[in-house]
Amino acid sequence: MFKREYTDDELIRRVWDVEEIKKLVYKRGVYIANDWRARELDELWVREPEHQKTASFGKNIGWYVGMDNIRAWYDKKHGAGYMAFHPASTGLVELAGDGKTAKGLFYSIANETEANGDGTAKALWMPEKVAFDFIKEGGEWKIWHLVAAVDLVCEAGADYSGQDPYPNYESDPVMLEFGEPTVKELIHDGTFNWWDDYPSMPAPYETWSDEISYGPEGWKPPKGKHYGAKEGRNYK
């Protein structure tokens, strides 16, 4: 495992950096709650052109890549009756040995409330693992890659056990809202709980490489051919 010795000066800077990163993630939760999507992209995400090109935002069915594509999907104006809470807990932050990037994994027992077209409204639970790659730009930590792997979606007050065991990502309201990502890939299939281990825990590391990215460049399918739900069911 990667391990480096640090001077006191280096170590306290690293401690400070990790606290700044956690604050960034927690602030994002407030931006979401206030429906400040455009502000989130402008203020919390990468600004340098090279990083903007490779920025990505993923959910179970793929990633939007590039800030222009992320913005085209994410920057929506919601009306009255919309509210979303994605509070981040269970923070696991690994700062690179060189201090230039960091990776983080969090869990959120999230919910979103939206108005239906007929004046009624509904609330959805959507617990999710949320993974980030962070990069320092001009002394400030920014979100570079983000993956929100939703475990299940259930209407508040409804009996989840009444759902089909197989999630249908073509009719799932969270994935419908996610639209048509730039890179389409089933990266987290809730059918098998956390068997696919994506996004996985960050490991200590010295310096950035695309192989460890939470963007599409770092994704590897789970081992074994039989990945998809219902494979092997036609043997009879």
């Binding site: 807990s89 989840y160 065991p165 197989y166 059918t191 709980n193 825990m201 039989h226």
Partner: protein, 247 residues
């Protein structure tokens, strides 16, 4: 208490973050039911290792491994055997995460690093979700489980490791379906006495210190502060620990 040097304060601040990461690694490993990696990599499995729950306390690396790895794996493999005929696509997949994702999120971290820098203590509240889709009755489920943790950690060869865990379950019910407080009231008022829900999954493992080590929510009782937050302390000893130490 001794006055800490600036150097030791910096080291302890970094230690606090490392302990937070160890605790989070527990959550993510347990979410995959990967007990082997959890107890192999993030625990100090010596004679002082302990893991306690409402049912009692396992002590020593061997007993903790048997209860937390062997017995847990058994449940996972039994679950796989119960579902593979209905869901043949589970073939070739690690049976452990297929049982359920038991996700004990961490909030309200209170962490104290000993002034000697050799141990750390933490208390946490964990609002958790436990869910699975491919089950033997064909129905997915999601439970909510709220617990408290009292955790002790030690520095071993420069790495922070778990030494003691005390899990205190308070609320367990199905997500958004039941009123757990009124359900408990109805259970107690039932003219035909019924057992309360089990404090944990499966049969309790063998323990050294028998329970109950914590009582969950009851309409008849006040909450138990079983694992109070740690106070600043000098060194891990029997006044500052969640499990009494063995010489």
């Amino acid at each position: 208490m001794s006055e800490l040097s600036l150097h030791q304060r910096i080291v302890n601040a970094a230690a606090s973050q490392e302990v937070e990461n160890v605790k989070a690694r527990h959550t993510y490993l347990h979410g995959r039911a990967d007990a082997t990696t959890e107890w192999d990599e993030i625990w100090c499995m010596d004679k002082n290792a302990s893991w306690a729950h409402a049912f009692g306390r396992m002590r020593g690396g061997d007993q903790v491994w048997y209860g937390s790895v062997t017995q847990y794996d058994k449940m996972c493999f039994e679950n796989w055997l119960n579902i593979f005929e209905t869901y043949p696509e589970v073939g070739g997949k690690d049976p452990r995460p297929l049982m359920e994702a038991s996700v004990h999120t961490l909030v309200t971290d209170v962490i104290e690093v000993a002034r000697d820098g050799k141990s750390a203590r933490g208390s946490f509240i964990t609002p958790g979700v436990i869910h699975s889709r491919l089950t033997d009755d064909g129905k997915p489920y999601c439970n909510v489980l709220w617990e408290r943790y009292g955790s002790d950690f030690v520095l071993v060869d420069g790495e922070w490791k778990y030494l003691h865990e005390h899990v205190c379950p308070d609320i367990l019910t199905r997500m958004d379906c039941f009123d757990w407080a009124h359900g408990e009231y109805e259970r107690l008022c039932d003219p035909n006495p019924v057992e309360g829900p089990p404090p944990t999954l499966g049969d309790p493992p063998p323990v050294t210190d028998p329970g109950p080590m914590h009582m969950p929510y009851s309409v008849l009782a006040k909450p138990r502060n079983t694992v109070p937050w740690p106070e600043p302390y000098e060194t891990l000893d029997n006044d500052n620990t969640y499990t009494s130490l063995v010489d």
